[in-house]
Amino acid sequence: MDKILRIDMGAAGGPKMKVEDLGQYAGLGGRALTSAMIAAEVEPTANPLGAENKLVIAPGLLSGTVAAMSGRISVGCKSPLTGGIKEANSGGQAAQVLAKLGYAAIVLEGLAPEGKLYKILINKDGVKIEPADEYKMLPNYDLIDKIKGVYGDKVTCMSIGPAGEMKLSASSIAITDMEFRPTRHAGRGGVGAVMGAKGVKVIIMDDAGLKNREPKDPEKFREANKKWVEGLRSHAVTGQALPAYGTNVLVNIINESGGFPTRNFKTGQFEGASAISGETFADIETKRGGNPTHGCHRGCVIQCSGTYVDKNGKFVSKQPEYETTWAHGANCGIDDPDTIAMLDFLDDNYGLDTIDMGAAIGIAMEAGIIKFGDKEGAINLIKEIGKGTYLGKIIGSGAAIAAKVFGVERAPVVKGQAMPAYDPRAIQGIGVTYATSTMGADHTAGYCIATNILKCGGFVDPLKSEGQIELSRNLQIATAAIDSTGMCLFIAFAILDQPETFQALVDMLNAFYGLSLDADGVAALGKKVLSAERDFNKKAGFTAAHDRLPRYFYTDKLPPHNKVFEVTDKELDSVFNW
C-alpha cells in the first residue's frame, strides 16, 4: 500500500492514469488520507460535480492485513449534498482487495466528456480503463450479473447505479460483499454523483495471486491481533448482541428511550416498533431459511449482517440495517419487514443512501403525496428514481431538496444531510454530533448513543444537556482516528469498555508500521483529521450558523418526554476548542 493511482478522466484523448509514491501522504490511510487529499487538492468553493472536485477512495491503515475487522473503506470528495467535505465509509470487500493490490488510494480527477462512461480494471498486472457504454443506466444488481459473466465472481466491484449516473445528490457507491452482491454502500453525501460526474460506472478489482500485507513485526502483530479478537468476542455487544440480531437490535431500545423518530420526527415512539425489531427480523430470517448472522467482508468476527429472504426462501436483500429499517419503517409509519427489505434492495439497486431516502419519503408523506404507512406508495416512489422521472429525481436528491420542493419546512437535516435514526430532543448528545459534524447530520461521526442510551463507556443522561459537548467531542475525535485505520466502527463498543482491547488495536498499528503510538497519539490523529475537515468547510463557506439543528428541534416538543433540544449555541461552538 505504498502507491497512489491517479486517473484524469477528462484528459484529452481519453482517461490518463499515473501511479505515484505516497509523498506528503505517507503514513495516512482511510479518512485521514481522503480528508487530507481533499483539503490539500480540492478548491473548497469548487463545484462538487465539476472538474475541480476529486473522488478519493482509500482503504484504512490496517486493511489488507490479517487484522480482524479491518475491511472498511473511505470515499472522500466535496459533497454535492452538503457542499462540504465528505468521507463516506463502507464495508464490503473493496478495502481488503485494494490494499492487497498495493494502493493507498485511487483518485479520480477531472471530468469525463458528457455521455462517456468507463470501467476501471485493476489486478496484479496493472490498470486498464475501458469504455463501458454497455453498462449505461444499469442498476447495481444487473451490472454485477453482467460483470460476473465476464470476470467471474471472485473480483470485487465498486459501482454506481442509475442514481449516480443521473448525478443525484443522495446517490451512493455500491461495494460488493463476500457473495459478490452489491449490498454495502458508501451511502452518505452523494458520493455516487461525483463518481458519475467522473464518468466511472464501475471499478473492478481482482486480488488473485496476491497475499496479505506483511507487518514490520509479524510476531507482535499476531499477538496483538489475537488479543484483539479475544476482546471483540468477549464483549457482550460485539460477541453476542450484534451477531445474533444485527444493528437492528436497536429498534426496541431506541423506541423504549422515546428517541425513535416516527412519521417525519413527529413523535419519539412507534407503535409498530416490535414488528420491525431486530428480534423479529432474526426470527423471520431463521424461519424462512435466510441467515441472521453474516459478515460484510473477509476478516469480520462480529458478523452483524444477515441475509433476508422472502416467504419462498428467495433472496430479497441483505438484512436491512437499523438505520434503513428506521428510515423506511418508523419514519414512514411502515411496520412491515418485507416492505422494508424490498426498499433496501431498491435503494441498493439504484444506488441510493437509505437514510436520505427514508427521510425524503417521510417528507413526501408529510406533504400528502402519499400517506404515512403507504407501503406500495413508498416502493413506487423509489421506483420513480429508477425510471428517472422528475418526481424520482426530487426524491433521489435527498430530504433537504424534497422538503423545499414539496413545501415542507420540517426537514430533519443539518448541512443538507438527513438525520439518522435518533431524535436529538430525546437523545441530546447525538444532537451535538448532528449539529457540529463536518459531515452534516451523521450518527457515526460521534456516536453518543453508546453512552447516552447503551451505557458503553459510562453514562451521560440523554435527556439533559450536561456533559453532551465533551461526550460528542471525544467521540468525534476517536471516530476520526478509527475511520483512518480501516476498522469497523462497531469495535468502539469493545474498546470503550475494555482498555486492553483498545491497547491491542494500538499495538497492531505499532507492530505493523514500526511506530510507537500511544492513546495520545491516536487522539492527535483524530484531531488532525477533524481540523483539516473543519478548515475545508470554513473555506467552503460554512460558519457557526451551519452548526445548528433546524429551528423546530428547539421549539417543538417531542412526545413522550416532551423535550426540545437544549444544548446552547455557545456550547455547540465549543466542540472543537482544543
Binding site: H235, A236, V237, T238, Q240, A241, L242, A244, Y245, G246, T247, N248, V249, L250, N252, I253, E256, S257, G258, Q269, G278, E279, C304, E321, Y322, E323, H443, T444, Y447, I449, A450, I453, L454, K455, C456, F459, D461, P462, L463, L489, F490, F493, P560, H561
Partner: protein
C-alpha cells in the same frame, strides 16, 4: 400492584416478551431480575416509563419496565 415487565433480545430466551406482573409494594428491578434468574451483568440497560433506571429503582403501580441485555448497533 400491577406493572408491565418487558424483556428484550437474549433475555427473552426461555422467558417471555411481555408480562403483566402482580408485585408487592417496594419491589425493585433487582427483585424482578432475581425472580427471573437474570444475572446482573445481563440486565445492562433498564428503563422505567422510557427513562433510564437502575437495578435498585423502585417499581410503582402501572409502571412500564424494560430490561435489555448489553446491545449496540447503529
Amino acid at each position: 400492584m400491577k406493572a408491565k415487565i418487558k424483556l428484550f433480545a437474549t433475555l427473552r430466551n426461555g422467558r417471555f416478551d411481555v408480562a403483566e406482573m402482580d408485585l408487592a409494594e417496594g419491589t425493585t428491578i433487582l427483585n424482578i431480575t432475581e425472580q427471573l434468574e437474570i444475572e446482573k451483568k445481563d440486565a445492562a440497560i433498564l428503563f422505567i416509563n422510557g427513562v433510564h433506571a437502575e437495578l435498585d429503582s423502585l417499581i410503582r403501580e402501572g409502571d412500564d419496565v424494560a430490561i435489555f441485555p448489553p446491545v449496540g448497533g447503529g
